[in-house]
Each structure stands twice: as structure tokens, then as C-alpha cells.
């Protein structure tokens, strides 16, 4: 299979937390600009199987599906058709939840939500409710309303300064998923106060993978790796004769192999700081904001979470990143279907050491 190179973009409009991937993974040759996890797919298909790799641009990234099927049961056209249907479902989802396009339901909530609730699709309601659940599950670390704080820190970064106490207080007053007004019976979502924003950038790609998974199942797909290009992957079944899909996570600085995660009917998401912190008075600040304090999260370089759905792992990787190792260990103990890996910030001069949680090795 060909080498997959993904370009990370700083200015992702969908990215709520400016979450950056640090885990760079390569199978064939490693390229410096490749920062996303990469999968290891069998290059030679066993007798009787074929594989298609197909991609589609959406949500400011490139979705890439690798689908394996049995020659005796499916044709290549069957699998291409299934992938096209799944891509179309992702596009329809983006038409509903993009916050940078005008006219989507999410954009309408952002512009009108404080005046009156906005009617949304059942799937968008479901997404919002799930996000509120993840917000509770992660002790309020994952928050789709964190936008005003992210915006404040982005401004400060450009002006090379720290936010003032007043600015932080003002931004924190309009952040918090408890200030979302959700009325399930009316399929409506609104804001309790003016100035709020919601942004699905931290979960949209995972949600899209879950949606794609459902569609692919309708077309008989039972073995596939769905890659949302920048931060999330979802594995359906396992390649023939293998225990699961292998995903390699490489260290971004020395390109050393950190982990070979094997996932089967599971999703994997990563969150992390890339190299460009910004410094004020000798102190480094990253981009992932802890919505509870309003400050950039310290002490973690990156986090990876594995769980049963793409939306869950997207939220969980942020939860792991912001809440740290102890919290992640406790969470995984209580939720045996989850596991992960965290690389704490070792401080100057030290080399980062990954901490595995529930992972095999």
C-alpha cells in the first residue's frame, strides 16, 4: 500500500481546542510532515480477499477508508459503493454541524441560540446530549462550549501576553455545558446566556466515523479501518488471520516507536501539543485549555484513548490529556472497555516516557 501523508493545519476552523497530534506514525518511510497515527494494513491480501483504499475530503481533513472483503461475496464496486454512501453520510453530517459554514444547524445555534432555541436534527440532538454526557464523564474537561476561552488564548498568543483576570472571568462566564439549553421533546438546542458558542471540532470526526460505521454495516462491510485523517480511527472487525488492526504511534521528536496498538471493533483518538508552545515570562503555554480553570493544560504532552466509539475516544483523549494519568487510570478501571496512553511533560532536558493504561504491554 502507498504511504499516507497527512498535513496538519494550524488554522482548522473546526478544531475547538486547537488539538494537535503529536503522535506521528509511519509504516513505510517516515516523512517529517506526517503527524497522524498510521495504520499497518497487510500489504499482501490472503487468497480470496481483496482490499480497497478510498478517500474523501470532509471536515477540513481527508477521510480514508481501507476495506477488506471476500472475493466470493463482494465485488470491488460493492465496496466502493458502500464507501461512497458512508462518505455521503459524513457530508450530510457536516452540513448539519459545521460551525464555520453559514446555514448549518450548529451555526444557527451560535448566532441565534441565546435569543431562542434552534430546532435540530435528531442526530444533532443526540450528539449534543452525548457531548454533555462526556462533559460529565470527564469531570467537565471535555466541553463543546470552550470556544470563548480558546478564542481568548489565541488572541493572547498573537499579542504575546497572558489574559487579564477580567478577560478570563468574562470568558469563563460563557463557558460550560451546563449552560446549554436542550429540550429533547422539541429537538431544540439553545444557550442560557449571550456570548456562548458551541463547536463540535473536538468530536465531529469521531462522530462522523461512528456514522460511517453504521452505513458501512448496512452494505455488509465487516472488515475495515476508517481513518479520519488527523486524530481518530475506527476499526471494524480485523484483517483476515489477524487479531485486529495495528496502529503505530511514533514519538514525534525521535520518531521512535511508542506503541503498536491493536484495535478491533474499537476507535482510537489522540490529543496533544505540537512543538509550538508560546512563551510568556519564561513559561510555556500550550493550546489545550482546561475549561474549568480557563488556563492551558500543563503537565501532559499527549494522550491517546481507545474505546468503543469514535465520539467516546475523541472526548476521552481530551479527558485523559487534561485530567492526567491518575484520572485516566481511575476512569479505565471503572470502564474496562477503555484504555489509553499518556505521555507526561518530563520537564526540560528529560526525554518523555509514555504511561500505558490497560494497554497490553
Amino acid at each position: 500500500m502507498g504511504k499516507l501523508i497527512r498535513h496538519w493545519r494550524w488554522d482548522l476552523p473546526l478544531s475547538a481546542m486547537a488539538v494537535l497530534l503529536l503522535l506521528a506514525v509511519g509504516v513505510v518511510a517516515f516523512a517529517d510532515d506526517s503527524k497522524a497515527p498510521e495504520s499497518v494494513v497487510p500489504e499482501e491480501m490472503p487468497e480470496g480477499y481483496f482490499q480497497i483504499i478510498t478517500s474523501h475530503p470532509a471536515m477540513y481533513t481527508q477521510f480514508e477508508f481501507t476495506i477488506i472483503a471476500e472475493e466470493s461475496k463482494f465485488s470491488r464496486e460493492d465496496m466502493q459503493g458502500a464507501a461512497q454512501e458512508a462518505f455521503a453520510a459524513i457530508d450530510r453530517l457536516e452540513d448539519l454541524i459545521s460551525t464555520w459554514r453559514r446555514g448549518t444547524q450548529a451555526s444557527r445555534i451560535n448566532s441565534e441560540g441565546a435569543q431562542h432555541s434552534v430546532g435540530v436534527a435528531p442526530t444533532v440532538l443526540n450528539l449534543v446530549e452525548s457531548c454533555v454526557r462526556y462533559w460529565r464523564d470527564t469531570d467537565k474537561a471535555f466541553d463543546i462550549t470552550v470556544g470563548p476561552l480558546v478564542e481568548l488564548w489565541r488572541t493572547c498568543k498573537m499579542e504575546k501576553r497572558l489574559p487579564t483576570e477580567e478577560e478570563l472571568t468574562a470568558a469563563r462566564a460563557v463557558v460550560g455545558s451546563d449552560k446549554l439549553v436542550v429540550v429533547p421533546d422539541d429537538h431544540s438546542v439553545g444557550f442560557a446566556t449571550l456570548g456562548m458558542r458551541l463547536d463540535f471540532g473536538g468530536i465531529a470526526k469521531g462522530w462522523a466515523l461512528d456514522r460511517a460505521h453504521q452505513v458501512l454495516e448496512e452494505y455488509g462491510v465487516s472488515c475495515a479501518l476508517l481513518d479520519a485523517g488527523t486524530s481518530s480511527m475506527l476499526a471494524i472487525g480485523a484483517p483476515p488471520g489477524k487479531p485486529g488492526w495495528t496502529v503505530q504511534l511514533r514519538h514525534p521528536y525521535n520518531k521512535e516507536l511508542l506503541e503498536e496498538a491493536i484495535i478491533r471493533d474499537e476507535a482510537l483518538s489522540t490529543s496533544g501539543y505540537a512543538l509550538d508552545f508560546f512563551e510568556v515570562n519564561g513559561k510555556k503555554y500550550g493550546h489545550i485549555i482546561d475549561p474549568r480553570t480557563g488556563m492551558p493544560t500543563q503537565g501532559t504532552l499527549y494522550a491517546m484513548a481507545i474505546g468503543s466509539s469514535g465520539s467516546q475516544t475523541e472526548a476521552l483523549s481530551k479527558g485523559f490529556f487534561i485530567n492526567g494519568i491518575d484520572w485516566a487510570q481511575r476512569y479505565c478501571e471503572q470502564h474496562p472497555d477503555t484504555r489509553g496512553l499518556i505521555v507526561p511533560d518530563p520537564g526540560p532536558g528529560e526525554s518523555p516516557k509514555p504511561v500505558r493504561i490497560n494497554m497490553a504491554k
Binding site: 472483503a69 471476500e70 466470493s72 461475496k73 463482494f74 464496486e77 460493492d78 459503493g81 458502500a82 461512497q84 454512501e85 450530510r92 452540513d95 448539519l96 459554514r101 453559514r102 446555514g103 448549518t104 444547524q105 451555526s107 444557527r108 448566532s111 441565534e112 434552534v118 430546532g119 435540530v120 436534527a121 435528531p122 442526530t123 444533532v124 440532538l125 443526540n126 452525548s130 454526557r133 422539541d186 429537538h187 431544540s188 461512528d210 453504521q214 454495516e217 448496512e218 452494505y219 455488509g220 462491510v221 465487516s222 474505546g307 468503543s308 466509539s309 465520539s311 467516546q312 472497555d337
Partner: protein, 509 residues
Amino acid sequence: MDVSRRNFIKAAGTTASVMVATGWSPLAYAQNEKVRLAIIGTGSQNKFHIENGIAGNPQIQVTAMSDVLRPSLVTGLKTLIPDATKDMPADQAAAIKEKQNAFYKDHCYLNYREMLDKEKDNIDAVLIATPFKTHYDIVMDCLDAGKHVFCEKTMADTYERCRNIVTKCHETGKFVQCGHQRRYSPEYIHAAKGFMDNLNPRLGRVQYIEAQWHRNGDWRRPLPKKADGTEYQLSEAEQALIGDQEAYRKLVNWRIYEEYSAGLISELATHHIEVINWMLGTPPRRVWATGGTDYWKDDRDTYDNVILVFEYDVNSRHTGFIPTSPVTGIEQIDPVKMNKPYTVRFTWTGTLQSSLKGESILMCGDKGSYILRERLDRAQRGCVFQEEPKKIWLDPETMQPTTDEKIISWIKSSGQSQKYSKLVDVDPVLFENELDPAAFDKISDVHQFEAFAKHIKEGGVPRTNQMCGLMASICDIAAHEASLSKQVVEIDPAIYKFDFETPDPFLLV
């Protein structure tokens, strides 16, 4: 025509006159009472409606569903009540499952007639998005059941059937709203208002219109399959409604088979034809068409490329070219020529083997032209291009553009206009910048179902009422006939006449 046209629009403002026209008066709906809606056909179009115009509409509640295909019915149900996410706590997941099962067991039907019968006291209106040629029977049954109808375009497939629907609406006092959603699109309404303005300085006289819908693809949907690669096998109940497996395969891809559809004409052209009818305020007098199945040589029996040419006889609103006497320099106005009706020609092309031009309408005026598109990229959905470049004045000292009145009047009086001015191309004016953001941000699907609920609760008829649907359908049927015969088909205006009062097909708002 002009005068009567403007009266039409005026009449639309007074609900009373419209209510008389349909014989329909509203039920007593409480303010917060929802319109109970049954859905027939849970394919991709109705799923789109559920997600956009319906579920989020506080005035509408879906109370029943039907589809001849069980898998489609199930995915329709899951669009209304989405599955639990895989990581959801067991009790919540079970609650969702239970809700889905209860709705499926009590309110989902393969046979819409059974639904109309069993749910008759549980529904006020019906939404139909089934294959084109199945519309008629379903619409008539729903009207007979005393329900208001929202029917996807194209309304019906023969002249007689179209007229029967209009008559049935008159008899039952119910309306049929057709899914010509562009009539609810803020950009199109903005364009129409400008167009209908008698002395619209932006367009001048529009004499030529072109529109197209070009795609590159076979227009097929894959058949759902099980994990073992086998295709879905119809149950006996489904066979009774659909037929054998072969019929099922055709049904999934109904757009490309004559049995269900008129192909590109009934599925795509109809949207544009309806908009042009509306803007010109009259249906076309004749249509010539051609087409063929030249690229996708599979078992389809509809054309994969068509060209339609419509002629509209329009009374003079704009004078057109008036010659000036070379001797006196005075316009030679000839009242006979000026008041002569003129012909607006509208060409439509559709193809399934090239997508560059995509979907758009171009209305060519002698002063400027509209481009109208239907896509989510809002900034480019509607704009007007000026025909003439704009003259700008240059400051004689700096040779930079100036708007200073003093300098401009000096240039004009100095006789050096040529030297100190230049012509620049004018950027297109985006309709987005001229519209109310709140209305603009709602997609037309939201607007059209708001109108649907409003007219059911408050009376009156929607813009895309049965007469609008009839007019577009008749154009489609004529165009389809023309494309098969490769002959000109004349459309007799008598086909739009009824011996009772019918709703106005050209309502602006």
C-alpha cells in the same frame, strides 16, 4: 399580463381571498398544538426532510411512517430516533431501543393504506417522498382520507392525473404542497422580487434563460447487503407491494427507470422549470426536446442526457431595443412593435457524464444577469452581474480614482472626460449581502416546512400549492413527450383552467 400579474401578487397578501380559492378553513388548532405528520416513503429525501425541515420544527410531530421496504423503514425510524452510541450506558441505550421498538411496532407500516386507515385519528397531514410515478395514487388516497399533503416534486405523471389532484383538493378543501423548495429560498425570493419589478434596473429585459444540472455518475445507489454478501430478500408482505427481487432492484434505483420516473426531467429539470414559470409569471407555450441514453449503457431506460427548449410568450415589460433616427437623433418609438408580446426562450440541459457546470440558473438581461444556485456555500447562491462596465473618474493630478464631486464636475466641463475616466468591471452583487441574516441562515427546507405547518394551522395555501405543482408537472410531462418524439409539443393553456377557483401558482410570499 403585467397588470394582472401584479394583482396576483397583491391578492396573495390577503389570506381571505386565498381561503375562498381552496374552500379550506383551518381547524381550530391550539397555539402550541403540533401538526401530526405521517411520512410515506422513508428514503433519502424524507430522511433529509426529517433532519432539516421536520424534527426541529416545533409545530410538527411525526406520528407514523410507512415504506414498502422494511430496511428503508428501519433507517427512516433511526433517522427520527437515532441509535444509541456504542459507549452509551446500558440503561440509556435500552431506553432508546425501547422507544424505537415501540414506535416501530405501533406506528410503522409497509402499506400506506393500512397506515391511513389505522392512524386516521392520529395524523393531520402526510409527507410523501416516493418514486415519481407512485405519487398520484398516494396523494389521492391521502386527500380522500381528509389529510393535507406535502408531496415531493414532480406532483403527477399525466395531464389528467394532475388535474384530478387539483379537483380533489377543491372537493376536499385540503391542499397539496409540492417540494419545489426553491420557492422558499431567500435568494430566489429576492431574485424574484427584483425580477418582477417592472423597471428593474439590474436586469432590464430578460429574453434568454439557461439552466442546467450536470452530474458525473451513474445516479445509482448501491443495494444494501448482509455481511455474507447476499442481498436483502423481500418478505411476503413486501413482495405483495413490490414484486420480485428484480422489481426490488429497480425500486432502489427508481430514478433511472421509466416504470417509476421520467429521469432527468422529472427529477432535476422540474426544479428549474418551476422557478422560471414563477419568475415569468406564466407557463411555457411549447417545448422541444431531445436526449438519449448514450453514456451509461446499463439496463436503464431513461435518458442520461437531455436538452429542453421552452418558449414562453411574455407581454412586454421592457421595451427591448428602440432604434434612434440617424437624422433627428430621436428614438423612433413604434407603439405596435413595443407592445407586441415577445418570446423568452429557456434552455435546460441535463447530463450524467460531466459535472463541471453543476447546477445553476442564468437569467440573461440586457442590463445584467442573475445567477442562482442551490448549494450550502451560501455566499455563492445568488448574485447579479452587470452587463455594462462601470465608469470611474480619475483625479487629474494623481490619476487615482476619485469620488470628489467638484473634481468630477470639473472633468465633465473641461471636455476631457475620456482622458480622466476609465471603465472597470463591476463585481457581482451577492444577494447574501442584501438579505436578512436570520432568514438567510435557514435553509429552504426549514422555510418550506414552517409554511406547511403554518397553513395547516392557520389556513390559506402555500406558495407551492397544487396549481404550482400542476403547472410544473405539465411542463415536465410535455418535455418528456417532446424528448421521446423529438418534436415540438404545444401546451394548451386550457389545461390550467378549471370551472372553480384555484389557488394562485405564482404566489411570491
